[in-house]
Symmetry: D2
Subunit: 181 residues, 4 copies
Amino acid sequence: MILDLISEWRFPDADKLLPRALATAPRVASLIARCRRAGVPIIYGNDNYGRWRSDLRQVVRSSLAGGGDGARITTMIGPRDDDYFVLKPKHSAFFGTPLDLLLQHLSVRRLLLAGVASDQCVMATAMDARMRDYEVVVVGDCVASQTVARNRRALEHFQIALAIHTTRASGIRLPRRRRSR
Amino acid sequence: MILDLISEWRFPDADKLLPRALATAPRVASLIARCRRAGVPIIYGNDNYGRWRSDLRQVVRSSLAGGGDGARITTMIGPRDDDYFVLKPKHSAFFGTPLDLLLQHLSVRRLLLAGVASDQCVMATAMDARMRDYEVVVVGDCVASQTVARNRRALEHFQIALAIHTTRASGIRLPRRRRSR
Amino acid sequence: MILDLISEWRFPDADKLLPRALATAPRVASLIARCRRAGVPIIYGNDNYGRWRSDLRQVVRSSLAGGGDGARITTMIGPRDDDYFVLKPKHSAFFGTPLDLLLQHLSVRRLLLAGVASDQCVMATAMDARMRDYEVVVVGDCVASQTVARNRRALEHFQIALAIHTTRASGIRLPRRRRSR
Amino acid sequence: MILDLISEWRFPDADKLLPRALATAPRVASLIARCRRAGVPIIYGNDNYGRWRSDLRQVVRSSLAGGGDGARITTMIGPRDDDYFVLKPKHSAFFGTPLDLLLQHLSVRRLLLAGVASDQCVMATAMDARMRDYEVVVVGDCVASQTVARNRRALEHFQIALAIHTTRASGIRLPRRRRSR
């Protein structure tokens, strides 16, 4: 699951978050490619920023139209037609969305989380996933926050307080065979 | 709120439901027009029929492409760009969707329900709206079910068991002034 | 699951509902006894009537203290220490309660519903259970509403609109072996 | 709202958490007393630890029966009959509980959080409260975690990542007049 990386980057702190997000994008792109080869479903979770009429295609278009590093990220990691998405009204990708039902539909039990911000939306989503008994892995080098210190603190929090693994992308094992739905 | 009237009509019982839905469509269209003039937000609630990647635009396109009475309904009552929509995974438009948050965002307290089927998705949505303390009106001549008898029984149920008004469209009073958001 | 049969019967319509509830109580008691022998968990779902500080024990005590037919029902079908309960703030026993989590904890997939009113709380609970993919049986002769006509209409609605079985208690098959948790 | 301070302290890490919880208890007790005088409702949120049949009274009894520092805390800060409680199946006091409905019923908009662990249940509850648009204050010297370092990191996280105030109890202003419900 890819959180909040497809964006116009027009929100408070976007200037701080964007360069750190850009730095993770190649690793996220590579993880997405591995998941696609393995038939692991990709789900994009995106803030709707109070624009209740939008959908992911519009967000992709605006992001590309915005140019710069935001468009660069979207080009690297953007969704394909067979990917899934949820537009989230609040921080957690579970709150006010069909994510739980979608994961049940896909028979998903393990959730790999990538994206931004590690100590905000990623954390809220990880905690909600845990309360719903999903196995959660925060991909350690595919998440970022506004500062390096905040990201480090978030990863420590995942490990120590929540007992959530923060494996790096290279350490993630995916299932061998493709499944389709 | 317009439930399940934009569709390809490819599900069990669609042949029974479609003619009855078509019969309500002119009244629904007229109510939508009145709401738009009054600045009352229109929300389309639609089954995703297990097609988790779709959005309302795709549903509209497929419905029009399907031709026949289904396309006729969509032409009459289809959404505009400034309308809202929720794709619902189950019967109730509240379940696994951001509807409650959207209604809070729009400061909506009264929900007018139109669409099909009166004794299935409309009823599930009405009951969920009531549990969330919304005032609910099922627009009596803008809902339908597979048979006339089932629709009549549903309307009786709304009135007697749930104390929900089933006013006809002509009896609905809308606020005078336009609001925007 | 037993809905709203343990009560002080102090609400609008209680005078109409109580005699019909009393009439079902011996059959409910007998079904409960069969379930206990089979190791099927019993869950009591009860309105909290805005008394947020109460729990089932208090409801049982008040019901017995109230005397009359209400106390008679509670004596016949009252909970034991190893039964479960949820206090529901609204009609559906799923709304604002841990019921879904409790059913997952108990590995329950099939829900037998008994109690009152068949066209209000029982129906809201049945619809919510269906949306959460539980198999639902409304026990046909263990539910009641304010009038015989309303109860009959509710049972028709379950069968025709919701495709929910309304088997009589004598037709319910329970698993043979006891399980414990 | 008081989280997980009434307990038998029989869970992993209880030995680490208990002394730190005990250290906060006098300040929590004093805050509770001030809230009672001001008519601010007290809500106890407690893990049900998989014991689905228990209620707060039983938890209080077991805690007192267990003796030691746990009983000492319960004596200092235990509930009165006019307090509220929610038994929470998971970390957040909102998940699978009627808390949101209770807060609406009480017309509460601001939530003061005290208890343990600051980086687990307190944090999950704070994040859920924020997503539901409550104003949240984590009372800085009335929360604790397994270690002083973890508690400090949690408070930093509240302030920096979540923009949640972590005012000390002495700095909390309460409304002057008593309200009753």
